[in-house]
Symmetry: C2
Subunit: 416 residues, 2 copies
Amino acid sequence: MTSSSSSYVPARVVADLRALAENTGGAEGSRRLCWTPEWLKARAQFRAALSDLPVEIETDEAGNLWAYLRGARPETLVVGSHLDSVPKGGWLDGALGVMAGVELLRALAAEGTPPITVAVVDWADEEGARFGRSLFGSAAVVGTLDVEAARSLVDKEGHRLDQTVAEHGVDLATIWRSSSRLQNVKAYVELHIEQGPILESKGLGICTVTGTKGIERERLVFRGQAAHAGTMPMEMRRDTLLAVSRYALALAEIGRRHQGVTTTGHVQCWPGVVTAVPGETRVTMDMRHISAESLAAMYAEMKQAAHDAAAAEGCTVGFEPIFRIPPMPFHPKLLDAARASVKEVEGHDVELPSGALHDASEIARVIPTVMIFASSIGGLSHTKEEDTPEAHLRMAADAFHRTCRRAMALIAEGAV
Amino acid sequence: MTSSSSSYVPARVVADLRALAENTGGAEGSRRLCWTPEWLKARAQFRAALSDLPVEIETDEAGNLWAYLRGARPETLVVGSHLDSVPKGGWLDGALGVMAGVELLRALAAEGTPPITVAVVDWADEEGARFGRSLFGSAAVVGTLDVEAARSLVDKEGHRLDQTVAEHGVDLATIWRSSSRLQNVKAYVELHIEQGPILESKGLGICTVTGTKGIERERLVFRGQAAHAGTMPMEMRRDTLLAVSRYALALAEIGRRHQGVTTTGHVQCWPGVVTAVPGETRVTMDMRHISAESLAAMYAEMKQAAHDAAAAEGCTVGFEPIFRIPPMPFHPKLLDAARASVKEVEGHDVELPSGALHDASEIARVIPTVMIFASSIGGLSHTKEEDTPEAHLRMAADAFHRTCRRAMALIAEGAV
């Protein structure tokens, strides 16, 4: 079970990642933006890495790329993540989980036919960096992609999502057929970097991930009265920026009080000039918590805080939905598998919820799922500075491999 | 002195303003954007209104349009304001002061040669709505226009200021020559709408203006650390939007405490997306007070509040100048002239400082100056909704005329 004598070689995962960075990165960071030639180049490397193995490589109706190592039985363990990156992104985000999966197929193939089938998947357009719709491929497979909403999306250059994906063989009208990929899938394991500073702050390299936090994301529109900055007395103003300031501080306090996270990331004032009191201010709201109850409480308090802040400045506030996803706790048996593996590799039982969304957030809706995190230096991601100590990458691949072996055993036993 | 029997007809001022609105306005408001054909159309109406009078009409090296009614002596009273408007602006802002001046020349010309010279001026580009440099023509005449800074200004369509004004005969290299227009000028009187709600809130139509408030205008740049909205714990953030929220509330309190005005009109966050803690936030700061001492105190408190707010969130803050102008108290003798006129017309001695800048702010630097305000319905200006009750417009023109007569007497006596 501990596979210390297996042919899984974490150093090869690091070597594959470095080759990918050479191939698709540069001084400005990774360039594997989805649905572009650079992304296809990354996928070509993925195919080439598997070319000597007895695997079947297929693309599904949503653009996801699958590599199957058929086992004695059809029950399937899926592992993977995504090769696409944000523009000027990091070398590890997504790629780590895919390359760790490639090494898993190498190790298993070297041992002959596995007892169950194992697949590595490269999910399409996890980042949503061009069209604003993240988790594209994994949501499509699970059936949670809003196809009509996706159809009308346009990137900065004016390219339509539907036309762009069509150039890659994806027809939005038949994308639902990709769900057949989940037949026989009994477990999903994803290795990813933390993209946050917590492991580093604890002096650790890896941990078990308990689930992904639920998210409420909205746009708040505060409405007051635009006025001349010189002629409107303070006491007669209905200043939406002051209402937003009260609200933003209250929102942060709500996040702290519930041990969740809350963020005001974007602010826009109208008319938005130095000489005018803002008569309308729009802000984005993002809040996350691993507990559905806490998230619901935070959401209710946010609404009250916004109304109170608006009223204090003679303004009103309205709410527009952007996105929401419930907390996705991972599977108890797979969590035990991950915990045992982390304990073997780094000798502790630290576990964290993921504050970031991952393809695992979608897959966990319908398939027993677990994740392992590797630390992030400075907590940085989505930037060329994204990095992880190589020793942590090797530990992470090792713990991932051990978790996969345990998941295969659970599947073989019919326990998941 | 009270000129109740004079030929000055306030109703003609209103009629001229309505004709101008017909000529250069519409459903979306006034379109007299400076250096455009619509603005030239307004100037053509100004010329036409004076065509039957014995006046000399000249354009100076800064693009200001002057109409001189020569008197027995060269000492000169100048009155006026500006015909240019912001895009979709109001019908009264600037135009009221010019048309009240036209009527003054009509009344004086009907009486024969006046004892001193009287000129009406239409200052060029008061609004600065295209290139961001307001008070263009009046600053040029006074010598406070930063010609090198103006040279590089570009409008939204990419037109350069220097090329645009050249099409109207203005050469930035020789614009300083326009200062000769102030030779012999002994007083300046400007009638304008309040553009604020104070007169309306007092149930009044007109008042004396004591001066224009001093302004400090800066850009503040708060710097912290951009981070992922899901993975960065609240207690490890360096969130610039939270720093800005603390600062904006403190700035408003500073304005209230000193009975001045303070405004945060524009906010921009980087990266400025719903999923990121803002690592940098830029805000504009505008503060105004009629007392130089109070303005200086407000400015010092603003800087301290910004540093305190930044420090409270682990951020730093820097300051970039945008614009500043000291308070411009008007001339004591001309203030007395205005007070007496307002008293005669509306029977009270209410006076206000102007929170907005006017061409009078520039002229008052070097010439004895005073202004009269007419009320603004709802305090609105720079919008098509800008309006003033017609009775107030007529009272304002009447008080303006009486003030001009008193100013002419002061000049004739050598008292200003």
